[in-house]
């Protein structure tokens, strides 16, 4: 049924968006790293998943060329995707070895994002250039289509569950506190004995793993992946989820993702299609997204759910932080 198919797509997108937004919120919302190249780690995960599941590039009549080419089982392939995200995230993080002001850091990473897209698009041998990779195997293709679709939803849900537990280890407790201190004032954090350079690399590795897993799950679901799927503007969409939801709050940004990704970007698909301008509804979604983000920055900069800090009465926190 059409509505059921649509629901599955929404749920898978919601789950993969959540993973990516959590990772970027860890970097930007919690640790203060303006990683405008975040979508690159998502792409790294997707491509890695593709080339370790597609088999040799001579397969399928050799109509697409790419490096590597293996046939790993999907749990392993997802781990490879996460690892690729972590690796690329760390590499992007190396731009922060020379300490830059946050705005310059953001610009540097935006340039990285554009550079990588250009290179991957131009180089056919790497990931088949602009055309991208197709026929990426779905792990449940041996099940009947309906079951396979819901199995994929379950897979994404399990990944989100595990992801959220891991995420909270970094955003709460002493670690989360230290990262937020670094976000608020990195100089004062160094003066308090925190190795800011090392912490940033760790955060970008962990955030990268979240993005990589997100990308791997997307690639497995869609079955294809090309440069048009990871334009730099996608990073801005994730940032919008964070700003609308509440920078630094895990629950807040999850809510923000629900609001932005589903209601706006997917919801506009319910708008009537106008035959003469086929891209209209998508453009319309970006406009709503931009307007909502600006409105929040102006009128509610703390987002829907403000970041909460633990309050202490006696010796233990009386409330858990958000």
């Amino acid at each position: 049924m059409a509505w059921e198919y649509y629901l599955v797509v929404m749920l898978v997108y919601l789950g993969t968006d959540l993973l990516a937004v959590w990772g970027l919120n860890l970097e930007f919302g919690v640790a203060g790293i303006a990683n405008l190249a975040y979508i690159v780690v998502v792409a790294a995960g997707a491509y890695a998943y593709a080339i370790v599941t597609l088999g040799p590039s001579s397969g399928n009549g050799g109509f697409q060329t790419y490096i590597g080419g293996f046939t790993l089982p999907f749990p392993l392939a997802l781990l490879v995707g996460a690892a690729a995200g972590a690796l690329v995230g760390t590499l992007i993080g190396l731009t922060g070895l020379k300490r830059l002001r946050q705005d310059y850091q953001g610009v540097a990473m935006l340039v990285v994002s554009l550079m990588v897209t250009t290179i991957v698009s131009a180089d056919i041998g790497l990931f088949n250039g602009t055309a991208g990779l197709a026929l990426i195997p779905n792990p449940f293709s041996n099940l009947d289509p309906d079951t396979a679709r819901w199995a994929y939803v379950a897979l994404v849900a399990v990944c989100c569950l595990i992801g959220f537990v891991v995420l909270r280890r970094f955003t709460t407790g002493p670690m989360g506190r230290t990262l937020r201190a670094m976000r608020d004032d990195d100089t004062a954090a160094s003066a308090a004995g925190k190795d800011v350079v090392r912490l940033r690399l760790v955060v970008q590795a962990v955030g990268g793993a979240f993005g990589g897993l997100s990308g791997a799950l997307l690639a497995g679901f869609i079955g294809g992946w090309s440069p048009s799927a990871w334009a730099y503007i996608e990073t801005l969409a994730f940032l919008s989820c964070i700003i609308v939801g509440g920078r630094g709050s895990d629950l807040g940004v999850s809510l923000g993702t629900l609001i932005i990704a589903v209601l706006l970007l997917q919801g506009v698909q319910f708008l009537p299609q106008i035959a003469s301008s086929p891209g209209l509804s998508e453009d319309f979604g970006w406009i709503i997204l931009g307007a909502a983000t600006i409105a929040f920055i102006w009128f509610r900069p703390q987002g829907v759910l403000k970041e909460r800090r633990p309050r202490y009465r006696g010796e233990s926190p009386s409330k858990l932080p958000g």
Binding site: G173, P174, T178, D185, A191, Y312
Partner: protein, 257 residues
């Protein structure tokens, strides 16, 4: 080790900092003895903040050496200096604005289990008991500074004087050997200043060494044993405040500067 423990705590040797043609600090040498409060005074632009920034590791010197506790720390990163007990505060108080006052103190505690890989992987169980101790330590410190009622307020909402107090408490949480303070009394009400003076004196009695940049000569008089006078990037003279007051050189520097 035996040698290190007996020499001066801090030795500054021909330290220089040039900004283009400006010699902000122009070859200064002095020492800070263990358990002392040493003052660093001089007119505006004398190079005091720059000197402190170099000692703390925020600014790399153009020349000269710095030794702390017998170790050459000239090229050491700021966070590494903090970890060996050389802790600074800033002339403009810097707090972590979106953390609570109490958290500002907690974050500075050294060797936290929850910050290490094992603590992150192990979760709450790995760091809960240490955290509990740190919380009561921080709460006791807030009491000392009469700020217990601000414990759960976001540090960004505090007044200037309170932020400075937070910064000093945060520094103390790190169990420093030498505390570098850049004009800690600036902007404080007279009563808060008196309070802080008393606290600093008590800390020095407890064995903490202090290097204090201060404009207010009255404070310097009250707190500091030795005073180093800087003007135009150089050390003009050093000695006890009572002697320095009589010196022509020092008087001229203050009037001219």
């Amino acid at each position: 080790m035996a040698l290190a423990a007996t020499g001066p705590l801090l030795e500054v040797d021909h330290l220089e900092k040039h900004y283009g043609g400006v010699r902000a600090v122009d070859g200064i040498s002095f020492t800070v003895e263990r358990g002392s409060i040493t003052g660093l005074i001089g007119p505006n632009g004398a190079g005091k903040s720059t000197a402190l920034a170099m000692i703390g590791g925020f600014v790399q010197p153009s020349g000269g050496r710095i030794r702390f506790d017998g170790v050459d720390i000239t090229g050491m990163a700021m966070h590494a200096r903090a970890r060996i007990g050389l802790v600074r505060t800033f002339q403009m108080a810097r707090v972590f604005g979106n953390l609570t006052t109490l958290e500002n103190l907690l974050v500075a505690a050294p060797r936290q289990r929850g910050e290490r890989a094992a603590g992150v992987v192990g979760g709450r169980r790995a760091w809960r008991s240490q955290e509990k101790e740190l919380v009561s330590e921080a709460q006791a410190m807030l009491e000392t500074f009469s700020m217990a009622q601000k414990a759960n307020d976001l540090a960004g909402t505090l007044s200037g004087g309170q932020k400075r107090a937070v910064e000093i408490m945060r520094a103390l949480m790190m169990q420093p050997k030498l505390l570098l303070l850049d004009e800690p009394m600036a902007g404080l009400s007279p009563s808060l200043s008196r309070h802080l003076e008393d606290v600093l004196l008590k800390l020095a009695d407890g064995g903490l060494s202090l290097l204090l940049v201060e404009h207010e000569l009255e404070t310097v008089d009250k707190l500091c044993g030795k005073v180093v006078v800087m003007a135009q990037g150089k050390v003009l003279s050093e000695g006890r405040m009572s002697e320095l007051r009589l010196s022509r050189e020092v008087q001229d520097a203050y009037v001219i500067g």
